[in-house]
């Protein structure tokens, strides 16, 4: 199972508000830096352990349970899906 952005969802950096945002049909979701870091790795190819490993090269103390939590919230908001 690999997570990816749902069709029509785009992650971008909003220079006016200086934050990452998810854009999708008729909506905008402001993402915190942790969620943005996870989202950048949701390419439909990386598994959760791959994502944890990739984040581990940039940040200390990344736990799989935390990544799972972030992804669960994003799936709930219907911006990420499992393939």
């Amino acid at each position: 199972m690999t997570p990816r952005l749902r069709r029509g969802v785009r992650l971008t950096y909003d220079r006016t508000r200086q934050t990452h945002v998810l854009l999708f049909p008729e909506g905008v979701l402001v993402t915190n830096p942790t969620a943005a870091a996870v989202l950048e790795l949701c390419d439909g190819e990386r598994t959760v352990p791959d994502i944890v490993a990739a984040l581990g090269t940039r940040y200390a103390g990344v736990r799989e349970a935390d990544v799972d939590d972030v992804l669960a919230r994003l799936v709930d908001r219907q911006v990420v899906e499992w393939t």
Binding site: G8, T12, T16, F24, E26, V28
Partner: protein, 361 residues
């Protein structure tokens, strides 16, 4: 003051359909002098600088603009998320492919009912078949598809069929929006406002479909504020998150605000930034200071923002009054009477509507 998130770019009010529920202004002749490509390019750039992230290309029928592909490409170059709001008439495969290449992100196609005769009757022109075909093209080219249906007395009983149609074409979202009574639709209110029984039946169908299609198709249901206890929240607050540019370059907080007695603001004479910050059309009802009672002391004042200014104006002649859709409004009787009329006598789609006469140039 926040930066706006969304720009509704009304490229033209020309339209091949003649829907009785059209909420565009009555005085279409005033909008014939449309902004040109270069002017839209500037509007998009200024919108992006102002913080706009999403651009809804609408109308009228935006496909009637020969420069639509260029406008989409410009918006895409600026990093805007682009959404085409269309009847799908004119969305040939080759046009669709050009729009895809230009970076269009999402397509929303309207349909008027779930079967050809009813849909064509409401649209005022044979269009059902072409719409369904265009929906197929949208999916084939890999876009997310939203199917939009404006609900009213003449089609709300078909909501189960509408949902089936949306499912069968593979829609990612379906938007079922009860008619809002502005512009041309206002004239047809008595013919369009459904009965309470119609609404209740439709809402049961929608709830069941939501449950059944969870994670497969989002179902957005826009309630009829005439039947609500509280008004709809005005665009998330007047001039708070969205702005509209009309075909002739006027700037408004929302597309229904055209008749309000406020000085015009136009991109032809001023920058979007100055208009957003300082023009009376934006500042008149921004925030909560303008509010009368009962809004001023209401715990919901920042939930629904006093409701719709345009509806307050439409119904009472004063845009600064509480939206009469709110049961706390001193003018609520105006809405109650319309609802009573919709529930007396005959029911269903037997009240004649006047289709909107459109001339396509």
């Amino acid at each position: 003051m926040d930066s706006p998130l969304g720009l509704l770019a009304e490229l033209t009010y020309r339209c091949p359909l003649g829907c009785a529920y059209c909420s565009n202004p009555l005085n279409l002749a005033d909008y014939q002098d449309e902004l040109n490509t270069e002017q839209w390019r500037r509007v998009l750039a200024e919108a992006s600088d102002l913080g706009v992230l999403q651009c809804h290309l609408s109308g009228g029928e935006p496909l009637l603009r020969r420069d639509l592909v260029e406008i989409v490409a410009d918006a895409n170059d600026l990093g805007l998320y682009t959404n085409l709001v269309t009847s799908a008439l004119g969305l040939s495969r080759s046009r669709a492919e050009q729009l895809r290449t230009a970076g269009l992100d999402h397509v929303q196609i309207s349909i008027q009912s779930d079967e050809p005769a009813g849909s064509d009757r409401i649209a005022g022109t044979p269009s059902f078949q072409r719409k369904v075909e265009a929906m197929g093209v949208v999916k084939e080219l890999g876009w997310p598809l939203t199917v939009n249906v404006v609900l009213h007395r003449h089609n709300i009983d078909r909501v189960a069929g509408v949902l089936e149609l949306a499912e069968s074409v593979g829609a990612d979202r379906v938007e079922l929006a009860n008619t809002q009574y502005y512009g041309w639709a206002w004239r047809n209110r008595a013919a369009l406002l459904p009965s309470r029984a119609q609404l209740e039946t439709a809402e049961v169908v929608v709830r069941a479909a939501r449950e059944r299609l969870r994670n497969r198709m989002d179902i957005i249901y826009v309630v009829s504020d005439y039947y609500g206890r509280y008004p709809k929240p005005c665009m998330g607050g007047w001039a708070s998150r969205q702005l509209t540019v009309t075909p002739n370059g006027d700037v408004l907080p929302c597309p229904a605000a055209q008749p309000l007695p406020l000085p015009r603001a136009s991109v032809r004479v001023d920058s979007l930034e100055r208009i957003w910050a300082d023009s009376p059309v934006m500042t008149a009802f921004r925030g909560t200071d303008w509010m009368p009672e009962p809004c001023r002391s209401c715990r919901r004042r920042e939930v629904d923002f006093g409701g719709c200014r345009c509806q307050a104006f439409q119904l009472t002649g004063d845009a600064a009054r509480t939206d009469p859709a709110c049961h706390l409004s001193p003018d609520h009787e105006l809405v109650v009477r319309a609802v009573e009329a919709a529930n007396s006598g005959s029911t269903g789609g037997d009240r004649p509507m006047s289709p909107r006469p459109h001339r396509v140039r």
